[in-house]
Symmetry: C2
């Protein structure tokens, strides 16, 4: 039975007590699990633009408490840019890397599996003939993305493979990339 003096249980730096309390709350009131994440973008000239992340909606309320997080987006000179930031397809890999990692760490924590380190390398194949409109046969999108994980923990190879499966099953960015997701783009006046 839970009491006010119950100690907080943390695994892999994840507050598992709060995690299970959150799960209980969502089972009672599923609406709190609906989030809306946001970004804004302002073109700065050429291939350089800036995105800002700040507010989001979740747990049935707006959250505007974070300081704005500003991201410079640009291309390297070979792609007509000025190297003022990572490029858009690299930001997608950044998000994918973080999402697979967090899904793995959180689900391992929920199962009581302690991890010492998790590292990953990502690489995606992109033919810019698609972007340039030079071929209808060559995909505009990443043709394939490869992710390689190195996990240090006192668990078997088989258990590490299971963590890799869990990461893919529960990662929102992995599933957004590997499945078709509707993106509605419109003009506002």
């Amino acid at each position: 039975m839970k009491t006010a003096t119950q100690q907080t249980h943390t695994v892999n730096g994840v507050n598992v007590t709060q995690l299970f309390e959150t799960i209980d709350l969502i089972r009672e009131t599923p609406e709190i699990s609906r989030f809306r994440f946001r970004a804004t973008n302002t073109w700065q000239g050429g291939t350089y633009n800036q995105a800002t992340v700040k507010d989001f909606y979740g747990a049935m309320q707006e959250d505007d408490t974070r300081n704005p997080l500003v991201f410079d987006i640009d291309e390297p000179p070979i792609l007509l840019g000025g190297n003022k930031g990572a490029n858009p397809v690299e930001y997608l890999l950044v998000g994918l890397s973080g999402c697979l990692t967090t899904a793995m760490v959180a689900h391992a924590a929920a199962k009581g599996i302690e991890l010492r380190s998790v590292e990953s390398r990502l690489e995606g194949d992109l033919d810019v003939q698609g972007f340039l409109g030079l071929s209808d046969e060559i995909p505009v999108e990443y043709q394939q993305i490869r992710v390689s994980f190195k996990i240090d923990a006192d668990i078997s190879h088989q258990e590490k493979e299971e963590l890799i499966m869990m990461a893919q099953k529960y990662s929102p960015v992995f599933n957004t990339v590997s499945k078709p997701v509707p993106v509605k783009v419109s003009l506002s006046d």
Copy 2:
């Protein structure tokens, strides 16, 4: 006929001379259009991890000339994090915003359409019951992403709508999100 003294033509800050020269080069040697973009990620504890973007392969060679770009990835407290950075699904929106913007600006430049400003707002719907494994019916991925563009230019509403269509047609991140892309995740020893 091109000569060494030909002036560089720039539209929207995009070097259109270099753009068309690049297109000519790719038509001669399509291999130069094949890129491999990369990121690495190191887990820092809990929902906090760091991604680094640096080298890439493109134009038939490795490019290791950029300084490392390091990105903090974390969750807000309501999602068990410490707010040390934007979260993974927000990074995906950052990449999507930049990619649609660059695709629009570059293709407008190629057509000689001058733009004064381009701004966008993005919002994605995510139900964290998927991430938490609480429901097999609720998608783990973004259920829908909406992007709204504000374009300032001396062109008609119809021409702005055409820019929006071009952005979607030629944006690698838009097409990576809206189409299924294979992501191979493996364990390295």
